[in-house]
Symmetry: C2
Subunit: 271 residues, 2 copies
């Protein structure tokens, strides 16, 4: 339902236009309308990291008919609808979206390309680390903070992001002051390893990366006696706060519309 007193009808196209860079989104962008129609009048917006079936149903139950999601509907960065065309789960998800009459817009590249990167900025804010930022690079934000033990930093991250566990490398008692934050799938060796050394990082916090790259580098570095630590936060955990931050922007931009942020549960539990 649209709020009483909102000034004008906002369409899905209006929201997409508001999530487009001045010169247009980067070429080859994955930002597109994944379901629904551009001319539909928006009754409410849900911002989320991943448009899961649970998020889709929660959106509908809140009366929102537009989901703005960072990631894709069908389990592949691009082309999931074709790749998994025969899947029963995909078919049931498509039917559910159709039945509920929802639009799903993917907002990935826009939000990474605004300056500063909205996804990384949302994570830094959620961690309460804005005042420690030293440098914003394209792949990472470099922080310098009063040294604290790896264990204490991990506890802070878990509490601030409401995440039940972290995968960690390094001595929990070692002090870390220079930290590199790599949101999303930016944990690869080519991205992280040069900055680990050139920025003299004690700790890297990344979303996701190949296990044989950065972690194996950290393992060897630890063996050699270097003070290096790594926290693999999880892809979703590292990018969700950025979508909560986007919800704030959308609220400011479309004051007549209800805008919700929905956080999913962690994918994995530990057994």
């Amino acid at each position: 339902m649209r709020k009483e007193g909102s000034s004008m009808s906002v369409t899905v196209q209006d929201v997409m236009d508001g999530l487009t860079l001045p010169g247009g989104n980067p070429s080859g962008t994955v930002d597109e309308l994944l379901a629904g129609h551009a001319d539909s009048v928006v009754t409410g917006i849900v911002a989320a990291f991943m448009p899961t079936l649970s998020v889709i149903e929660q959106a509908a139950s809140r009366g929102a008919n537009l989901i703005v999601a960072h990631e894709m509907l069908y389990y592949a960065h691009q082309g999931g609808e074709q790749i998994h065309a025969g899947s029963r789960i995909l078919l049931e998800k498509q039917q559910r979206i159709d039945t509920l009459g929802l639009a799903v817009y993917r907002c990935h590249d826009y939000w990474h390309h605004v300056e500063p990167d909205g996804i990384t900025e949302g994570l830094i804010q959620a961690l309460g680390w804005e005042s420690h930022v030293r440098e914003r690079l394209s792949a990472a934000t470099i922080l310098e903070m009063p040294p604290a033990t790896l264990e204490k930093i991990a506890g802070h991250i878990k509490a601030r992001l409401d995440t039940p566990f972290l995968r960690v490398m390094g001595n929990p008692a070692r002090l870390c002051g220079r930290i590199g934050v790599f949101a999303g799938f930016r944990g690869g060796g080519q991205t992280v390893i040069p900055l680990f050394e050139s920025e003299h990082l004690d700790l890297v916090l990344y979303g996701e990366g190949f296990e044989w790259e950065t972690p194996e580098y950290v393992r060897d570095a630890l063996h050699l006696g270097y003070n290096k630590a790594l926290i693999a936060l999880g892809h979703a955990e590292s990018e969700e706060p950025g979508m909560a931050f986007l919800a704030e922007r959308l609220r400011a931009h479309f004051p007549g519309l209800p805008v919700h942020y929905i956080k999913e549960k962690p994918l994995f539990t530990i057994l």
Copy 2:
């Protein structure tokens, strides 16, 4: 040191020849001598998943001068020596290998391409599941076993593989009988999702895969009420047993040589 009584000198080249498919390894293979010289006489072999600095030093301390490793030395599937050319950690690792006079041979493609795939077979054997194998596909081995709860299966895997934790999705109390085993980085959606459905799998056990693919599929499937479960074992954990299995083969093939298998510690701890 070579054992008393071994019949003839075995060179690094002899071992490499023994780890080559009859028609040669696949084109574009990553199997190559990463350090040392083909004509060196082998004093002992260490088989390991990853030639970490710890493995390298343990090999030297056991008098072995050849490491046969599944993975690479320098933190990239190919070309790590160039990609990370400026890295201090890389340089120190190179120097250590030179000083110790070791040879490192990568045995990746050969062992995946023998039939059945030596890496997957080693994992199945380590889990004691040989009698449950129903079908060996190129990407996965399909098992059918008396249904047990996900929790019980997870406990079995942890005990058999001596791994302290598992990342798991699904209801721990649900029964799983049809299991797909995907060793290494075969956890991607294009590999797993079609088999999840066509093979009616209750549980997929994979080494590593992108978080936004198979796990998000499982999340939606669970939401729809399907009995699906996922265990993300870890890349190393899923391929180490295959290298222990290769050590057995090498022992049989080179009876005069000491052959050791070295298992690394898990990369991550949970905080």
